[in-house]
Structure formats: C-alpha cells, structure tokens
Symmetry: C2
Subunit: 361 residues, 2 copies
DNA sequence: TTTAGCACTTGACCTCAAAGAGTGCTAAAA
DNA sequence: TTTTAGCACTCTTTGAGGTCAAGTGCTAAA
C-alpha cells in the first residue's frame, strides 16, 4: 500500500476526509458550504459540489435525499480507516497514562481484559468489549485433585497457556484418599499434553483399567476435563458501557437497538467474529463487512492480544458506523500495547515465528 | 393478613384489579367504558367513574391528564401485588417443565443461576437477573498450593460454602517445592476458619516467622486470600434479555433507558439492593420503593435462593412498573423452587427453622 | 477548469382545526 | 340512598396546509 492512491485525486481525498470527519462529529449530512467554511481547500462551494457528485458516483458518498448533504458510504469509511490504519499501525506513545489506569490490582488476565474494556469504553464513549477468545488446541499441563469430602473433590487444571481452572466433581460413590492420589497420578501421566480430540475411548478405558476397583472415579473426572476444555474453547465475552450506544441517534430506532442488544448478548456470533481476525494488528469491520446482519449500521474495532505469539484475548469497541475511528484506533492500539507489556513482562513485542515477518509500516 | 380488606369495598377492589390488569396489558390509561365492557361488574360506566374518582382520591389510581383514563399508582400496584403474593406464596405446581428446562448440563451453581436468569427472562419477557450475592462471613475451609513453575504457583481455596476458587500467585523470588509444602501446611492450620477481618497482622507475622528464610512467600499468598474473599463478598451479577426492556414504551425515553443501563452495569447498587431482601420468599420492589432513583419507573421482582438455610444466590426480573406481576411472580417462584430442588438434592424443602411450615398448595 | 447564480427539491417545523376519548356533574330513576 | 343517563367540558392526537432553510444540479460566464 503506502502510496496507493485509490484512484482518487488529492483533492477528492481531502474532501472525502473532510466529509467523513464532519459527519462523525455532527452526525448529519455534510453540505458543500460546510466544507468550504472549514477552509481546508481554497475553492468555491460549486467546485466542491462537483467533486462530491463525482465521489458519490464513485461510491464513496451517499445522499439521503435530493436536497440533503452527503454522508459517507461504507466504502467512504473504509477508505478513511485504511489511511488511518497506516498512520496508527505502530503507535506506541501516550501509553504511560493508560498503563497507570490499568495497573490497579491487575494480576489475572480476565481482570485485565475486563478493566481494559471499561477503559476503552470510557475513553472512546462507545461500548467496550473484552474477550477471552476461542483457543483451539488447548492442552492440559498439570492436574491436581483436592478432596472436599469423600464424595466430592475439586479438580484443578492448569492449561498449556497457564490458565488455572477448577471444577467440582461429584463421585457416584465414596472414595478413599489413596484412590484420589492414584487417580491424580494417572491423569497427570496419561492426559497431560493431550487436546480435547485426543482423549479417546482407549485412553479412558486404560485409565479405568489402571484404577481397578476405583474405576468409578474416572468418568466424572474425564467429564470435568472435557467441560473445562470446552469452556476455554467457548471464550468469554464482556461488554461495558452498553448505555453509551444510546448517545447516538443511529440507535434511536428501538427495533434496531433491540436486535443489536440481543445479538450482543447471544455472544456466539460476536465470538466467532473476533476469534478469526484478519490481521494480528487492529481490525476494523464497517457495516456489512461484518457477517452479522444486525451490525450493518455499526462498526466493530478490535485487536487481538497476544502472548508469546498466541492470541490470549481480544479488546475492542462497538459503535455506530460513523465512529470516531481516529480516536478509537488510537485508543485500542494503545490499550493493546499496554496489556501486552503487562502480561509479557519486559519483552512485549517478540519477533513472530509465523506471523509473517515485520510490521513496521 | 388473609382477610384484611385494605379499607376498600369489594367492588372497588374488583375495579382496581381490572384497571391494573388492563393497564399492564395495554400500557395505556384505562377508561370507565373499558371496565364496563369487560363485564366483570354489572353496573354502568357512570358508577365506575364515581368509584374510580374515589379510588383516585384514596391514592390507588392516577390521572395523567383531565380527559384521560386512569393509571394505577404505585400504591395501586402494591395493593395488587400484595393480593397476588398471598396467592402465589406457596405455589409449587407446574415446576416439572421448568425443571426440565434447567436440567441441561447443570452442575455448578453459577451456571444454574445464569441459566435460570435466561429462563426467567424468556418466560416473562422482561430482563432476567441472576446474582451470587454478597455473602458476609466467608471463611476458608481448605487450601491447596499447586506449583506452576518455580516463580509461580496456583492457590486453590475452598470456602466454607463449598465454592472453589483459584488464584495465580507470582512470587518475588524462586522457591523450592519444600517451601511450598510448608507454606501450604501453615496456611491450612493458621488461616482456615478465619474471616477476612480476622486475618490480622500478628497472624501474618507469625506465618512469616514460621516460614523462616521463605518468608517472602507469605505476603503474595495472603494477598491472594484477601482478593478471593473480597471477590466472593462482591457477588456476581448477570443479566439476560436486556433487549426486552425495549419492548415497553416506558423505556423509549433514551435518557432514562441510558441511565438504567448504566446503573444495571454498575452492579454495586443492584447488588446491595437484592443482598438485603425483606423477605426470604419473593420480593417485589415497585417504583420508588427501591432506593435506586433510576428505577422509579421500573419494578424489580426477586427471590433469594437458599441452601441449608443460607442464601446462596438470587434470581429475578427487572421490567417496567406495569409489569405482569401475575406471570412474573408465578415464574420466579417456580424457578426458585426448581433451583432449590436441584442444589439440595432430595430434601429440597427442609423444615425451616424460621421459614414457617408447609407448602403443598 | 473554476466560479457565480438561479431554479428546484425536499425534509423540518409551525399552526390550526377537527376528531375522539374520557371525564365530572346534574337530574332523574330505582 | 344508590345507580344511571345525558351533556358540557377538557385535553390529546392527527392531519392538512403553508412557510422556511438547506442543499443540490445545471448553465453560463470568467
């Protein structure tokens, strides 16, 4: 990219940019006169009108009705955002402040992400999202079985990613402490390192065999392992600042807002959306670029959070299509870097092994 | 109560009930003519008008403006609800279906409550809430320390209530397996059974003393304990069906809706509200009966979930003041019973020490 | 290629009158 | 004493009509 002009004259670009920014700010169609007043250009409104008519024909602008000003089309936003992305791809300034805001009692990733989402929301005035996304190929690194009473024990699992999960297991019959210790031993030696799809029936039968008269403990335990793996696989999705949606007239249509809220709550669609990012850096989905229909009038900006090259979370914001992309991109990039610094200790940006080389624009 | 008439003639009660139900259904002021048409009463509209005028003077009805019909006042709803509460206080039927709906992959209380909230929302068409409420006097029953690597370990804590919580602990220096075992031993003997406010400095210093050269492990561990206790203390609050709020014109005022969403998201106020129920059975807060100002036009119906006499959660719904209390009360009671059955195994309804008796409706 | 000017279109907004719903009150009926 | 019919009154809702301002497209001149 870099010098790719997109087929637009320099003046058209300026006008397009002016229209987009004016519309983002005001929310209303932008007329030729307004552009002239902002004197970014030295020409008359008639000239602007001609240019705008062409921009409309090219698909960058739209006209709600004959005598209204112009509004950016999806393509218009896309053009605008692409130019911004170049600009912000490698921003790392101003992060000090965000670092400070995030630093409060943060130790677990979940908490970091949730706080980050709140932060993103309050800094941008849109709705923030935080996701612990679908992580395929989770394996277990370590098990510990903790007795609660002789019919219940807690299963503590540490995944390859370092996440700790616990699950209470209720056994069909009373067990002895020895049986539990033996089970722990076996699971640690047999199951560790396996993914969900590698724990097959033969392995389970072998376990039952090895447990002899305590075979009844195997099934509930394995079930717990499965459940945890699936839980991790599902991911968790949290929003903050949902009420900020209401600040924008775009969502004054009750039906539309209702649909959006419903979709957001359902989680599945959104999770799928962000679990499969196009870029490892910042992603921007404008309107119908998102496969979720109800988001046709909205935009979604998000950024995967990586640790040692693996995606461990996502942060972002959701808002109207006429989102203040400038502010949002900046904020999300900064928060992203800040989180990376936090969870990776010093070496925040390690050279990716297969992430396709360099990323300095 | 039972036969307490509330000072109203039987006819006034009938009229009040008719007005409330008509308004709940239609959302609009109810005129005298409408009441006549529903022929629950055999008298003319003029008579109804006289009665309604009196009901208004008594404070049970309100008139939005001179030539509109009547709308129930808060007092009117309260009267209506109180009569319903009598009716539903001991319902236990129809629970079979709810039982089935809840039975999917339910093992942990968190999951049960969240699913119950969704269920409540979809059955009533209002917004469902599920809460693991503020539980003061949490103590720890058991600790287990699981090594991750020589600078990190996971702390597994089982509370007096049987909840299992884990916390990752990062140590300021590398530690030996022996040190960890020793720490585990000490914590289990010293901290178990203590509440958050009983872990005092002398105790911590004693621990450090006992750990000798491994004293550096004590502080991070104790910090983790504190964090878990506070977490439990805070409770967790989940909503489902937020979009259903939009089905009601009461929330078409954007500003109002925004405030409500903000309050709901903030959690603190709502948690406090439901953590201190007036009744162990079903609670109904109508409009300004709730101390949360933004809920003046809303109603909150909730029911504590008890296990062995201790409150372990809350389920309920939030909706407009003109809520279909009949349906909601029935639904919440039924879901509540269903959950109780589930988490208590067989003896779902233990003879309350102070819950007062039988319940075969 | 740019600009000035003008006719035209369109949604936003205001006013006004009519319609409709529901009341309170009075006087007659039960 | 209670209920009912009838009527005048009040207030909101709705729609038509008219004005206004914004912004355009187009033409002709610079």
């Amino acid at each position: 990219m870099g010098n790719y002009t997109g087929g637009l004259s320099e003046r058209k670009k300026l006008i397009l940019k002016a229209v987009v920014e004016a519309h983002i700010e005001g929310g209303e169609p932008v007329g030729s006169k307004y552009i002239v007043q902002s004197n970014l250009l030295s020409c008359s409104s008639a000239t602007i009108r001609n240019e705008m008519a062409e921009l409309e024909q090219l698909g960058y602008l739209e006209q709600p009705h004959t005598s209204a000003g112009r509004v950016p089309s999806e393509l218009g936003y896309r053009f605008y955002v692409d130019s911004l992305v170049e600009q912000y791809a490698n921003t790392t300034r101003d992060i000090v402040r965000i670092n400070q805001l995030l630093k409060a009692k943060m130790s677990e990733l979940d908490q970091i992400l949730e706080t980050a989402s709140k932060l993103a929301s309050s800094l941008t005035n849109y709705t923030g999202i935080a996701i612990k996304p679908k992580v395929s190929s989770v394996t277990m690194a370590k098990f510990e079985l903790v007795s609660i009473d002789n019919r219940n024990f807690a299963m503590v699992m540490i995944t390859s990613g370092g996440t700790v999960k616990t699950k209470k297991v209720k056994t069909p019959a009373a067990y002895s402490p020895d049986a539990l210790a033996r089970l722990s031993e076996l699971i640690n030696s047999q199951i560790c390192g396996l993914g969900a799809d590698m724990i097959t029936l033969p392995i389970i039968m072998q376990l039952e065999n090895d447990m002899a008269e305590n075979a009844f403990l195997v099934n509930p335990a394995i079930k717990a392992v499965y459940e945890v793996m699936n839980e991790l696989d599902g991911g968790e999705l949290r929003y903050s600042g949902l009420n900020r949606l209401l600040d924008y007239p775009e969502y004054s249509d009750t039906q539309h807002l209702s649909n959006l809220l419903g979709t957001l709550e359902n989680q599945d669609e959104i999770l799928e959306l962000v679990s499969d990012p196009q870029s490892d850096e910042i992603n921007v989905l404008i309107g119908s670029e998102s496969p979720v229909k109800v988001m046709n009038n909205s935009a979604l900006v998000f950024k995967p959070i990586k640790k040692n090259g693996r995606t461990v979370g996502v942060i972002g914001v959701i808002g109207p299509r006429r989102m203040d992309y400038k502010k949002v991109l900046k904020t999300i990039v900064e928060i992203g870097v800040s989180i990376s610094n936090m969870i990776d200790g010093e070496r925040a940006l390690k050279q990716g092994e297969d992430n396709g080389g360099d990323d300095n624009g």
